[in-house]
């Protein structure tokens, strides 16, 4: 495998009762590359993300981040180590203003600790960074709207802003365009392209929109039934007969078209 490995799993498994939702997965994610995880519904992709980000504890196996064994790390510790995670179902603070959502993300990254006496408005650096992120996401005129009152697409953008506030080294994005309207999807794609072009962030994506996957990905990883099926660049993966069988019962994945 060329390039540095930033994230590595070793025989990672999790079992819920009789169901092995993720079974013995050992993969490596290359630094600063754009990797997309594909697979039919129920393949265990989100569960896999949950294991990497620390929401679930594996029943066996390990996770390595930047060559450190983070298997025992809490989610918070992983976030502060440089991970960023967005969720399949929008995960914002609905009753707080959009601005406050982002500000909380920035405050956490600033690691000021549990201060009790200074007013939260008094932290100028945090406030400026919040404004910058809102501007980047084109949400500045919605800043004083409650997050729960935003459109679905705006909430997704808000969540991206919150994730980016952490300046993560690796971005785990779980279907970021899910539920977005036709006009909003290109904005997200453009944003991901921008981040990719900047070249200092590793992106791992779960997605179903093929045009997006084709346009952005350096590598594809295919998961089926909680197991790793194959991995490679989009061209070779789309020719793989096993992949075709798993996905469409014989038909080719229209990646190259």
């Amino acid at each position: 495998m060329l390039g540095d490995v930033i994230l590595r799993t070793e025989n990672l498994s999790i079992q819920f009762g009789a169901l092995k939702a993720v079974n013995d997965i050992s993969i490596s994610i290359e630094k600063k590359k754009f990797t997309t995880v594909l697979g039919p519904n129920g393949a265990g992709k989100t569960t896999f993300f949950n294991l990497i980000s620390g929401l679930y504890k594996p029943t066996s196996g390990k996770v390595y981040f930047k060559d450190q064994d983070i298997t025992a790390y809490s989610p918070q510790k992983r976030i502060h180590a440089g991970m960023g995670r967005s969720f399949q179902l929008t995960n914002v603070f609905p009753d707080l203003l959009a601005r406050e959502n982002v500000r909380l993300a920035v405050q956490s990254a600033a690691r000021i600790g549990f201060k009790l006496f200074k007013s939260y408005k008094g932290y100028n650096r945090i406030n400026e960074e919040t404004d910058r992120l809102l501007k980047d996401m084109l949400l500045e005129d919605k800043a004083d709207v409650k997050a729960g009152d935003l459109t679905h697409g705006e909430q997704r953008k808000l969540e991206m802003a919150m994730v980016l506030a952490q300046n993560p080294e690796i971005l785990l994005l779980d279907e970021p365009t899910a539920g977005m309207s036709v006009e909003e999807v290109p904005v997200m794609i453009e944003l991901l392209q921008r981040i990719k072009d900047k070249g200092d962030t590793t992106i791992v994506l779960i997605e179903h929109k093929m045009n997006m996957v084709k346009a952005l990905s350096d590598t594809l990883i295919i998961m089926v039934h909680g197991e790793f099926l194959c991995e490679g660049d989009p061209e070779s993966v789309s020719q793989n007969p096993e992949v075709m069988a798993a996905y469409l019962g014989g038909g080719a994945i229209n990646v190259s078209a």
């Binding site: 989610p75 918070q76 000021i112 200074k118």
Partner: protein, 334 residues
């Protein structure tokens, strides 16, 4: 006057004048009122602090603590037991305060540990059990506490002067309100709200939500315990009612009627509920229909739930929003 207001537009504003007026009214109540009124307003101020402490948990961090009485009850009993059995003096009062604080800290840490492992509902039920354990303990320890019949005791000077006690309660309210205001507008206070809104998101922003929760419990518990100390000084009496469910319900009622998530709401809620109850009890003499005052009291809550589900402050907020949209007019900054 005109010159001053144009030069210093922020110095004299209507909100500030009203605050000043409120302060003056509160300050001049004692000389012009009966002792019963002075005692009642003192009670309102103590309950306001109690309700604010409760709302830190309910309205800010989002914990439902069904045994919250154990904090105010602890404070009351520390004072009562020490005064009745050891002696009556200021040093002993300070000892009671220290004892209450330690007691509150211990309970806050215990509940914090439980809330970290269990869900909202389980924590709520367990806290209810805790209060019942304390209440039962005080009942059994009847040689010292007299159980439900209660303990009477004197209080040291100058707290035995009702006017002094009134002003002490006022200062207490101001101090606690200021402290809680500082806490809720601090970065930690914002994290509390985030935890309430969506704990998972807060975790995935990197926040140690268990720690945030424990801090909220410590703040809330200690403040409520101090309210208990003031309560004992005011009533010169303590019985197991102070640890009963009704006392927890009181906190819930005052903060919900006033508006959860707003410190000012808890103050308003306490005032409204106590004044309304008093108003109804006073009316007994006017017409026999008011003998069933509980019916009117209950109606108040039904009305609040139907028309003002977010409490009085929430209701006022809604009116203000509508007024703002209608007129597109000037909004006074907070």
């Amino acid at each position: 006057m005109g010159n001053i207001t144009s030069r210093f537009p922020n110095l004299i504003t209507i909100p500030k004048l009203l605050w000043l007026l409120a302060g003056i009214v509160i300050l001049i109540i004692p000389p012009i009122s009966t002792t019963a009124t002075i005692t009642m307003v003192s009670r309102i101020m103590i309950f306001a602090v109690y309700a604010m402490a409760y709302d830190i948990l309910r309205g800010y961090i989002g914990i439902i603590h069904l045994g919250f009485a154990l904090f105010i009850g602890g404070g009351t009993y520390f004072v009562a037991i020490l005064f009745a059995n050891v002696g009556i003096s200021i040093p002993i009062l300070l000892l009671a305060i220290v004892g209450t604080t330690i007691y509150s800290i211990i309970w806050a840490l215990i509940v914090g540990k439980i809330a970290a492992k269990s869900g909202l509902l389980a924590t709520a039920m367990i806290t209810m059990a805790f209060a019942e354990i304390m209440r039962n303990m005080m009942e059994r320890w009847r040689t010292v506490t007299n159980g439900l019949d209660g303990l009477t005791f004197r209080v040291p000077a100058p707290f035995d002067n009702r006017t002094f006690m009134y002003y002490a309660c006022f200062v207490f309210l101001l101090l606690m309100a200021f402290a809680l205001y500082k806490f809720t507008t601090s970065p930690t206070g914002r994290v509390w709200q985030a935890v309430r809104e969506n704990e998972q998101r807060a975790v995935f922003l990197g926040y140690d939500t268990n720690r945030a929760r424990t801090i909220a419990l410590l703040v809330s518990g200690v403040v409520a315990g101090l309210a208990g100390v003031m309560f004992a000084l005011l009533n010169r009496f303590a019985n197991t009612d102070v640890l009963a469910m009704q006392m927890t319900y009181n906190a819930m009622l005052y903060s919900l009627v006033g508006g959860s998530g707003s410190l000012f709401g808890s103050i308003i809620g306490s005032a409204v509920v106590v004044l309304f109850q008093n108003f109804l009890l006073d009316l007994r003499g006017v017409h026999f229909i008011f003998e069933r005052w509980l019916i009117f009291f209950g109606s108040l809550y039904i009305l609040v739930v139907i028309f003002m589900p977010k409490g009085i402050m929430g209701f006022v907020e809604t009116i203000r929003e509508r007024w703002k949209h209608k007129k597109g007019g000037k909004i006074y900054e907070s």
